[in-house]
Amino acid sequence: MPAHMSIRHHDVVVVGGGAAGIAAASAAASNGADTLLIDAGPVLGGELLSGIPIDGCLNTRGEWIVGGFLTELLDDLKRMGGYVGAFFDWRTIWVVCCDPECMKLAVANRLREAGVNILLYSFVDEVVTDGGRVRGVVVLNKAGRTLITADTFIDCSGDGDVAVGAGAGFVHGGGNGVFQPVTMVFRMAGIDTQRLLDFARDHSENLALAENPWITQSREECVRELVAQGYPKVFLRADGPLLSQSIESGELYPTALIGVTPVSTQRREVSLNTTRIANIDATDTQALSAAMPQLLDQVWNCQAFMRKRVPGFEEARFAGLAPRIGIRETRRIFGEEMLAGDDVLAGRKREDGIAKGGHHVDIHGGGTDQVRKPIKDGGSYDIPLSCLLPKGLENVAVAGRCLSADRPAHGSARVMGTCMAMGQAVGTAAALACAGNSPDPVLSDVPVQALRERLVDQGAILDGTH
């Protein structure tokens, strides 16, 4: 008996509801496109729900380089009491700290305001192609299979699932099975910020500070500024005495960092970015599933370590796990153009830039290994649309960490601030493409200057910063 498949059509279909996907869907719908956002999971927001801070929103100089959708999301959070603030880590980057739980409400609110249709718990099973066009995706969920057709598709799956399914070329991590580690972010509540900052001041040899040549202050001045900021934003370094001795003695697993970030002032709660298993191919579901116990062992190990060894954490309690394993690196698609590490490090600007990145080149390795390289003059670089258009596909764009970039450039552009900027750009481009007269819109036909103008009108930051 042949099985039934239902069908539906939208102007724009966005696959993947992480930071890039919600921005893309929101921008497409706000610009008039009938938009469907599909996610395989039960919730929207991706890594925004993990507790990790939003990197890549400001450059090292402290200039905001991402606006638009991000600004609206942060405004919602402010209204709901879920915005902690933007902080300089006095190491190399500015981060934006939010409450990941309140974030769920803010994300729902953004999508509601934009009028996005959502389809959760739905796995993209097949990509239906016609030459260089994607005609539809077949999604699988409890209701069965549905063929979802659209004029344009935006792949925000993180892994480039749609583009690759349609035949796009790609590279996988660093090659030869090398991937940045996967991480389970967790949270602790009830910390004593003042005690932690006193410790930071008195034992600053444990902190990563002043890694960026743009910072002219001495380490001592950096510590003073960090402490004066008054928030628990502290980066414990692997080669400081506390961590190196603890790793050496086996009290702590080998790690490059314990990144402590405030997520809620009222709950006195922080997130911790530290657990890691390198060289797991996160598109290999079995390998990813098998990583879980080791990651949770590290979580429990680390929370005990914090309580025992780090002042300010004596009375703190484990307060939660991220909803899912965080993934830094899988596939990068081959686009019309490839963003290069040199472009990133030089802070290259372009007339056809449609999003900005400002995170340092940040490639985590196994154990204590991590490559970190600053962007020139504490500035930002531009990402052209051509890095978001898979080569050979007319009506597919990507946004997020599967962009077309070499590995160093990806090490910077993969963070959530940049993902949202890319998402807004391609969502807007898709809406503009669908608004034209062609029944088969081609994304590379969207006039870049018109797109840039629309983005700037809607709050995106494309010019005027370092």
Partner: protein, 466 residues
């Protein structure tokens, strides 16, 4: 080009990693079966991660009706500082309160610790079956398709997806109207002043429901005293009381039959809140379920504001979490060799082939303020026979969890997590024993007496309580 399908073989395949599935997989593996557990999501534990208390573990009289896996899970939560313990609501139930974040850790510990092979992020796509024999299940994840061939399959999907796919007869919701109990999105608030909340309950007891089960106290006043003296924020606000009733009348709250507050962490002064609801959503209709995502989030915003502004003890409390997924009370039920009835459960009926016990009240949530509740006789328990966990006509397929074979009334009691874990343990053990006995033929060939003896040996409670 045809796509390739991988294969995997196992003794027991469990589909669904909620409370029933983790119990089934753990006990199957511990009893010697090679076991694979598949879940579509990024985490194991299902509703255990929601913050809702674990109902159905302790009778209203105060006897533990569930042991074995459930008790071990609680002990593991305690190791992760996440066990509040048994709490009486002085209304109708003794519930077990756990920290849902610790439950995530505990679920992973127990399942992986038993040697279960876990595939997360993996959708069950097709059931391969004929003549009542399920040959296997085709699953789909980012890696592609895999046919998992198993000698016994356990359907712990909640929705009876595997039984449905195998062509088994199913029942849905209310048999006449096909209406279903509402879906709910649990949320949590931290920084609750429990003494203040209990003072308020003491001074305005008309707001809360107590003594629906008459055995808890002499009279209402004594029940309120008991609740207050217990010292924990376990409070069941009803719309008949002025605080919630007026808020609903004035539009400051959506219509609901309850705002049920449960302690989940004393250290974080954190509670879960069970109140949001959208009725008559068929949760197997993914489009429809996705469409209520937004309503439920809006209700959370409304209710947290209501609590902060109208309920003493919540003045300084803040939103601290939203459950990882929408909670589903009711979808499909299998039609098994026996259909457990409302009369059975209300009479506390015992069966010779009982393999699990239930003790939760009859509990059918309706739309808005509608809610049918009735006590089990003498505050005791009833037995769930193995026959309720075997779909009619199926040979090597078992179910556990809320898709058991029951009429709507019995289902409304047996659907809770304590009973789900007991059912899971029973069918996991039965599946493992099927190999020893008849090399995985018909699960009915498992000697129920021997199964009961094995279950009892492994901590299950089958006898000796009212």
């Amino acid at each position: 080009m045809s796509s390739k399908m991988a294969t995997m073989e196992t003794d027991v395949l469990v589909v669904g990693g909620g409370s029933a599935g983790i119990a089934a997989a753990t006990m199957a593996a511990r009893n010697g079966a090679a076991t694979v557990l598949v879940d579509a999501g990024p985490m194991l534990g299902g509703e255990l991660n929601s913050g809702i208390p674990v109902d159905g573990c302790i009778t209203a009289r105060g006897d533990w009706a569930v042991g074995g896996f459930a008790r071990e899970l609680f002990a593991t939560c305690a190791r992760y500082d996440g066990y509040v313990g048994p709490v009486c609501d002085f209304r109708a139930l003794n519930v077990v309160c756990i920290d849902p974040e610790a439950a995530k850790m505990a679920a992973i510990d127990l399942v992986y610790g038993a040697g279960v092979k876990v595939l997360m992020y993996t959708f069950a796509d097709q059931v391969v079956s004929g003549e009542g024999h399920v040959e296997g299940v085709v699953v789909r994840n980012k890696r592609g398709r895999t046919l998992i061939r198993a000698r016994t399959v356990i359907d712990a999907t909640g929705d009876g997806d595997i039984a449905t796919g195998a062509g088994c007869q199913m029942a849905v919701g209310d048999p006449s109207s096909r209406s279903m109990q509402p879906v709910s999105l649990l949320f949590r608030m931290a920084g609750v002043d429990a003494p203040r909340l209990l003072d308020f309950v003491s001074n305005a007891p008309e707001n809360v429901s107590v003594l629906e089960y008459p055995g808890f106290a002499e009279d209402r006043n004594a029940a309120i005293r008991g609740l207050v003296e217990q010292g924990l924020p376990k409070v069941f606000f009803v719309p008949e009381g002025p605080v919630l009733g007026q808020a609903i009348a004035e539009g400051r709250m959506y219509p609901t039959s309850l705002v049920a507050i449960t302690p989940i962490s004393t250290g974080r002064r954190e509670v879960s809140i069970n109140t949001t609801r959208v009725a008559d959503v068929d949760a197997t209709d993914t489009g429809r379920l996705s469409a209520v995502f937004d309503d439920l989030h809006r209700q959370i915003e409304i209710c947290s504001r209501f609590l902060q502004s109208s309920v003493p003890g919540f003045e300084d409390a803040v939103l601290s979490a939203i459950a990882p997924r929408i909670g589903i009370r009711e979808t499909r039920r299998i039609v098994g060799d026996y259909v457990l009835t409302g009369e059975d459960i209300l009479a506390g009926r015992k069966f010779d082939d009982g393999v699990a016990k239930g003790c939760h009240e009859l509990d059918i949530h309706g739309s808005d303020t509608g809610h049918i509740r009735a006590n089990i006789k003498d505050g005791g328990s009833y037995d769930i026979p193995l026959r309720c966990l075997i779909p009619k006509g199926a040979k090597n397929l078992l179910v556990a969890g809320r898709c058991l074979s029951a009429d709507r009334e019995a289902h409304s009691s047996a659907r809770v997590m304590g009973s789900c874990m007991a059912m899971g343990q029973a069918v996991g053990t039965a599946a493992a024993m099927a190999r020893e006995i008849n090399d995985f033929g018909d699960v009915r060939d498992v000697d129920v007496g021997a199964l009961r003896a094995r279950l009892t040996e492994q901590g299950a409670v089958l006898e000796g309580i009212v």
